[in-house]
Structure formats: structure tokens, C-alpha cells
């Protein structure tokens, strides 16, 4: 057998042996090798000590209210809206309380921004006056143009008589 310490390929054999997870046939072969290999023997002894040390660490008992709390959370999960269920897992925990407020603010801002613009400016009476003023100006301009046209015609008619004979 190739020495497990020398070849990293078989190093897990030693770990498995110390964890008593090695099948009996391979364990027997390894034990025969360890009898003649002081490095592997030392490794095995040390690893068994580590294993025993780790065995000292017992886990603590689980809180008796663990299941009750979990089922409460599952029930709350069931009653949450689809939007909350979709968005909540992606939000950092610290942001979660602020999210509804932020969402409401965004909604209000969007409504204000995209609402159809209301008539802004002059009251109706002022607008009517402005339209009347514009019409008067147009009429006056047209009158002026007509007067100019007639003056022009008169000038043409009178022009030959003014010429010297």
C-alpha cells in the first residue's frame, strides 16, 4: 500500500479511518501499513485525539418555542400580498420598515409628475379680453392695408396728369 501521508491522494483514507468510516477490508490494509509506518501511526493517534476533543462539544438544546415561531412566520407569509412576497426577499433587512413609506412617496411623486396639466394662467374673462384685443388689432391692420392699397391706386391714377406735356 502506498503511504497515505506521502501521497495526498490517499490522505482521506487516514481521516476516514479515524472517523471509523472506512470499510473493514481497507481498514485492515491500512492498519497493517500503520504498524510499519511511524508517520501514519502518529497521524492516526493525533487525529483520534482531535476527534475525541471535538466530541466534547455538545450542541445546546433547541428553544421550545422554535416551531411555534416558525409556524407563525409561515402563516404571516401565506397572508402577505404578492408584491410583498416578490420584493421582500430582495430587500436588505434594515430597509424593510422604510420600504412602504418610500414606495408611497414614489407613487405620489409619479402621480404629480404625470398627471395631465391643468389650465394654468389667466382666468376665463381675461382670456376673452385678450382674444378680443387680438381681433381688434387684426381688423385695424387689415384696415390700414386697405387704406394703403387705395392710396396707391389713387397715386397711379393721378400720376399721368402730373407729367409735363
Amino acid at each position: 500500500m502506498e503511504c497515505p501521508i506521502q501521497s495526498r491522494e490517499n490522505a482521506d483514507l487516514l481521516l476516514a479511518y479515524c472517523a471509523r468510516k472506512l470499510e473493514p477490508r481497507t481498514a485492515a490494509i491500512l492498519e497493517r501499513h500503520m504498524e510499519s509506518c511511524p508517520d501514519c501511526r502518529a497521524f492516526g493517534d493525533e487525529q483520534r485525539s482531535v476527534w475525541a476533543a471535538l466530541d466534547r462539544w455538545d450542541a445546546q438544546p433547541v428553544s421550545p418555542v422554535f416551531d411555534r415561531r416558525l409556524y407563525q412566520r409561515l402563516e404571516a407569509e401565506e397572508h402577505r400580498g404578492w408584491w410583498d412576497r416578490a420584493v421582500r426577499p430582495w430587500l436588505p433587512r434594515a430597509w424593510r420598515p422604510a420600504f412602504p413609506l418610500a414606495a408611497a412617496s414614489v407613487l405620489v411623486a409619479a402621480v404629480l409628475l404625470f398627471r395631465s396639466p391643468a389650465p394654468v394662467g389667466f382666468p376665463e374673462t381675461n382670456q376673452a379680453e385678450a382674444v378680443d384685443m387680438d381681433l381688434e388689432r387684426v381688423e385695424r391692420t387689415l384696415d390700414d392695408l386697405e387704406m394703403l392699397r387705395q392710396l396707391n391706386l389713387m397715386a397711379r391714377v393721378e400720376a399721368p396728369s402730373l407729367q409735363p406735356m
Binding site: A11, L15, S49, A53, R56, V62, L74, P89
Partner: protein
């Protein structure tokens, strides 16, 4: 490719009672979820406790693990052993917690005496005060040695030592190759052998 995945799923479902239970949860059977919780509650909490070394944080993270399992029920596909999937979720949450330092605020001091396990309080062989003290000192050393390991090595050792996961399972949980897991474990145990040598 799809055929292979389907074959894997059938094989896993056929071999694993947990996978069958989870498939029933997927169909809306809440009693099966209760059974899964009963079977895996303690191992998940114990793994998380040893990862973050704080019981309250470990239980909070375990709640999140089972919530995630429940949330994922509709999309669950048995492509791996249920335990592998469960430990993958737990490990992911533990690493996030360690990274964010959430457990530091309330971290149980390594000097605080933890409650003795029920198995050590046998009436006719009650340990003396001195034996208790020696046990506590040694336990503190073990916890400290584990705590000082890099997170991935720590997770690998805990899954290997306390939960007896196979190399292939640990590899899937840690998202690496089996040979990488063997290497991680070898280095981790090497460090532990040095740190715990004085306890022998």
C-alpha cells in the same frame, strides 16, 4: 442532458424519504413539512450554532432556512439529496451572517460557560467541580480552535465531523470539487491537531 437530469431526479426520489416528503410538500401537504422540520430542526440549528457560535443567532438563521425551504416548495426539483440542499441554504445564511458580523453584537463569549449536556449529568457518576472546570476549559479551547478556522474549512469540518455528510455532499454544499473538499478537510484537521495538541 435533460434525460440525465430526469434520471437523477427519479433516482434521488426513489432513494430518499426526505425527497419524497419534500415532493409531497410541493403538492401542498403541510404534514410532510412538519415531518421534515421534526427530522432536520436539530441538525440545522446545531450546525448553525457551531458555525456562528451564538444560539440565538443560530435559531434565527434556522428559522430563515425553513422559511426558504417552504417558499421554494413550488419550484423544488429533487436534483440532489434533500440534506445537501438544506445544508447549502444553511451554509449560505451562516456565511452571510458571519460576513455581515450580525452575530458579533450578541456573540456568546467563548469564556461563558455553556449548559452541560444532559448525558454528562448521570446521578450515580456526577462529575466533581474540578472535573467540570477541566471540561469547561477544554471545551473552550475546542470552540476557539473551530472559531479560528476559515469559514469554509469550519463548515467542512462541522459537516464531516458532526453531521457525517459524504465528501460528495460537502462538495455540493460548498460548491467545489470532492478533491477540494478533501484538501480543505486535511488542512483544517492539520490546524486543529496543532491547536488542540495540548489537550491530549
Amino acid at each position: 442532458m435533460n434525460e440525465r437530469v430526469n434520471n437523477d431526479m427519479v433516482a434521488v426520489a426513489a432513494l430518499e424519504p426526505d425527497t419524497e416528503l419534500m415532493l409531497r410538500v410541493k403538492e401542498g401537504d403541510t404534514a410532510s413539512f412538519a415531518l421534515l422540520l421534526e427530522r432536520h430542526r436539530a441538525p440545522v440549528i446545531h450546525f448553525l450554532y457551531r458555525m456562528v457560535q451564538n444560539q440565538a443567532v443560530a435559531e434565527e438563521l434556522a428559522q430563515e432556512v425553513f422559511l426558504r425551504v417552504y417558499r421554494a416548495r413550488t419550484s423544488y426539483e429533487p436534483t440532489a439529496k434533500f440534506t445537501t440542499w438544506l445544508f447549502r441554504i444553511a451554509m449560505h445564511l451562516a456565511l452571510n451572517s458571519l460576513r455581515d458580523g450580525k452575530n458579533e453584537r450578541g456573540q456568546e463569549s467563548l469564556d461563558v460557560e455553556t449548559p452541560a449536556a444532559p448525558g454528562r449529568q448521570i446521578a450515580d457518576r456526577k462529575p466533581t467541580v474540578e472535573q467540570d472546570l477541566v471540561h469547561e476549559v477544554k471545551l473552550r479551547e475546542v470552540r476557539r480552535a473551530i472559531h479560528l478556522l476559515p469559514a469554509k474549512q469550519r463548515a467542512a469540518v462541522l459537516m464531516h465531523k458532526y453531521h457525517e455528510l459524504e465528501y460528495s455532499q460537502i462538495a455540493r454544499v460548498l460548491n467545489c470539487s470532492e478533491s477540494a473538499v478533501k484538501s480543505l478537510l486535511f488542512r483544517a484537521y492539520e490546524t486543529l491537531r496543532v491547536r488542540l495538541a495540548h489537550l491530549v
